[in-house]
């Protein structure tokens, strides 16, 4: 399924003084999809998103959002996008409901504010003003402000940072509902599970560049080899086992009786290993398959821990 692209970034460069925040980044976002921009702090996630929102002017390269130049065509673009900043954006003396109602008034066909308040559990904020809301409530209000104008495309900058697990799930659920209704979403995150759970497309960025991209499945399959472990009689003929396995697979006896096979671990490989064991009268115990996560992929690509 190849749909129209809503964001096109080509060779984007953005510098702050002598520091290069974004360094030749390419990214394409397809209509109706959820795209996660994943990377450690300082990788250039926020700068990339804020360039799409029209806050930053590229030093080089081009950015088109819904076919428009975010700086030159700001007046046309802004009514069509929803923006959730990483923090702030609300009058400190405003209550959650009145801020949301006010944002709704700036749009032609806003969502039903009461239903949105209910949906995001903001009704419990009551008469509390923004500065006294909990971090989670502030995050949910910012999310509500991003969607209240019924945008075509929303940018969420770290939408679940600082949320408890329940609130995170609820935010994820909203993003899925947006997708189901045809809204495109670009979100930045440094949570692997968030990208894996939500995204149709993940772009891993490091030092201002996209170092890998694809669906979470593609990234996990393509970027790293998987591992199969089992316990058996010590001193098995590993060489004979290897002959039965596809090229590129490795097999070793790590410690006495503990075997590790690395390569493309698929059902066929598992069947080959167990049938080899059956032929050699070996009972493989404790068979386990380790699937590589995005975290492993990230570590391999960048040599960095994500949550550092």
């Amino acid at each position: 399924m190849r749909s129209e692209s809503v964001v096109q970034i080509r060779r984007l460069v953005k510098r702050y003084g002598s520091k290069t925040a974004v360094d030749g980044l390419d990214l394409e976002v397809h209509q109706g999809s959820v795209t996660a921009v994943l990377g450690p702090n300082g990788a250039g996630k926020t700068t990339t998103v804020e360039t799409c929102e029209g806050y930053r002017r590229p030093d080089a390269g081009t950015v088109r959002v819904l076919g428009l130049d975010p700086v030159a065509d700001a007046a046309k673009l802004r009514p069509r996008i929803g923006v959730m900043l990483q923090s702030g954006g609300v009058y400190s003396g405003a209550r959650a409901d009145e801020m949301l109602r006010h944002m709704a008034k700036l749009h032609a066909h806003p969502l039903d504010v009461d239903a949105l308040i209910e949906r995001l559990g903001l009704g419990r904020c009551g008469r509390t003003t923004y500065r006294r809301l909990s971090g989670g409530q502030q995050q949910r209000l910012a999310l509500a402000m991003a969607v209240v104008g019924r945008p075509e495309l929303v940018f969420l900058d770290e939408p679940t940072a600082g949320l408890d697990p329940h609130a995170r799930r609820s935010t994820w659920e909203l993003v899925r509902e947006l997708r189901a209704d045809g809204v495109s979403t670009v979100l930045t995150t440094h949570f692997m599970d968030e990208a894996e759970e939500l995204a149709d497309h993940v772009a891993i960025i490091d030092a201002g560049k996209v170092v890998a991209e694809g669906s979470p499945e593609q990234l996990c399959r393509g970027g790293a080899e998987n591992t199969l472990r089992f316990m058996g009689r010590p001193g098995l003929d590993v060489g004979s086992l290897l002959k039965a396995l596809p090229d590129g697979t490795e097999a070793v006896e790590l410690t006495t009786g503990a075997y590790r096979i690395t390569g493309q671990v698929d059902p066929q490989l598992l069947a080959t290993v167990t049938s080899w064991c059956a032929q050699h009268g070996v009972m493989p115990e404790g068979i386990s398959v380790e699937r590589h996560t995005l975290e492993d992929v990230f570590l391999e690509l960048t040599g960095k821990e994500l949550r550092s």
Binding site: E53, G54, Y55, A75, R78, P79, R80, I81, V83, L85, S87, G88, G89, V90, Y91, S92, G93, A94, E98, H102, M103, K105, L106, H107, A108, H109, L111, A115, L116, R119, M145, V147, G149, R150, P151, E152, E177, L178, A180, D181, G182, V183
Partner: protein, 255 residues
């Protein structure tokens, strides 16, 4: 919420509706803020009542309320257009409100228009209240209402420019401190409650060029002495307005 709830239907509200909504919201935030009310309502009212009824200052033979009412009106304009606006806008910038609104359908010029309308709405309320208090204290104003209106408008422009210049360039805490300090200094040295001729000659001629002095002196010329058009004071205010609004437009940073 059911399927189809979020189906895109983007679009900006009509401009007049956005500006009206933004003005109403800004005014509501301002009137809710206790510190702002202290500056804009309580201090001017107290000064008017206190100095009109207690013989503390020498107003040169005229009735005290006739001297004080124009000065306190000038102070009210300064408190809202300069001090209040500088502090509020400084913190809106600091907390990303200006940034977030910058990504909304509301154009920046419309946001600034709404801020100005909100300042004017607040001034109308202040002036109505202070005028009632002054009348209750026996005030008998003279002069042409049109001159008064012109002075108030130019004064508002000059003080708004200075307030926005401060809010758009300094850190929020610095703006808070500086705006309050300037308020206090100009309250004392700007002919609001202390007549300028109480200061030494050399100091007087400098103080007379301050926007607060021009506004209080101009209002006093008209309301107390029945002057037609205080062109000198209007000129000083116009120069301040041009310089400060020009500088604010060039130097204001939204983030």
């Amino acid at each position: 919420m059911s399927v189809g709830t979020y189906t895109p239907a983007p679009g900006a509200a009509p401009l007049p509706r956005m500006i009206a909504a933004q003005t109403a919201f800004e005014t509501k935030m301002l009137l809710r803020n206790g510190e702002q009310l202290l500056l804009t309502v309580i201090i001017p009212s107290l000064l008017l009542v206190l100095f009109s009824t207690v013989d503390i200052i020498d107003t040169g033979g005229s009735r005290r309320v006739d001297f004080l009412a124009p000065g306190v009106l000038a102070l009210a304009v300064m408190s809202t257009a300069f001090t209040g606006q500088a502090i509020a806008t400084g913190f809106e910038r600091r907390y990303g409100v200006l940034k977030r609104l910058g990504a909304s359908p509301l154009p920046r010029w419309a946001l600034m228009t709404a801020k100005t309308l909100s300042v004017l709405a607040t001034e109308v309320l202040q002036i109505a209240l202070l005028t009632m208090i002054a009348f209750a204290l026996g005030w008998s104003p003279a002069g042409n209402p049109l001159s008064v209106l012109l002075l108030l408008v130019l004064g508002t422009a000059a003080f708004s420019g200075l307030g926005l210049l401060m809010a758009g360039t300094l850190r929020a805490e610095a703006t808070l401190a500086a705006a309050n300090l300037v308020f206090l200094l100009l309250l004392v040295g700007g002919g609001v409650i202390v007549p300028l001729d109480r200061f030494p000659e050399g100091v007087q001629s400098v103080l007379a060029l301050l926007p607060i002095s021009a506004l209080s002196d101009g209002l006093r010329d008209v309301l107390q002495h029945g002057a037609a058009m205080p062109w000198g004071d209007l000129g000083i205010l116009a120069v301040w307005a041009l310089l400060s609004l020009g500088a604010a437009a060039r130097l204001f940073r939204w983030e």
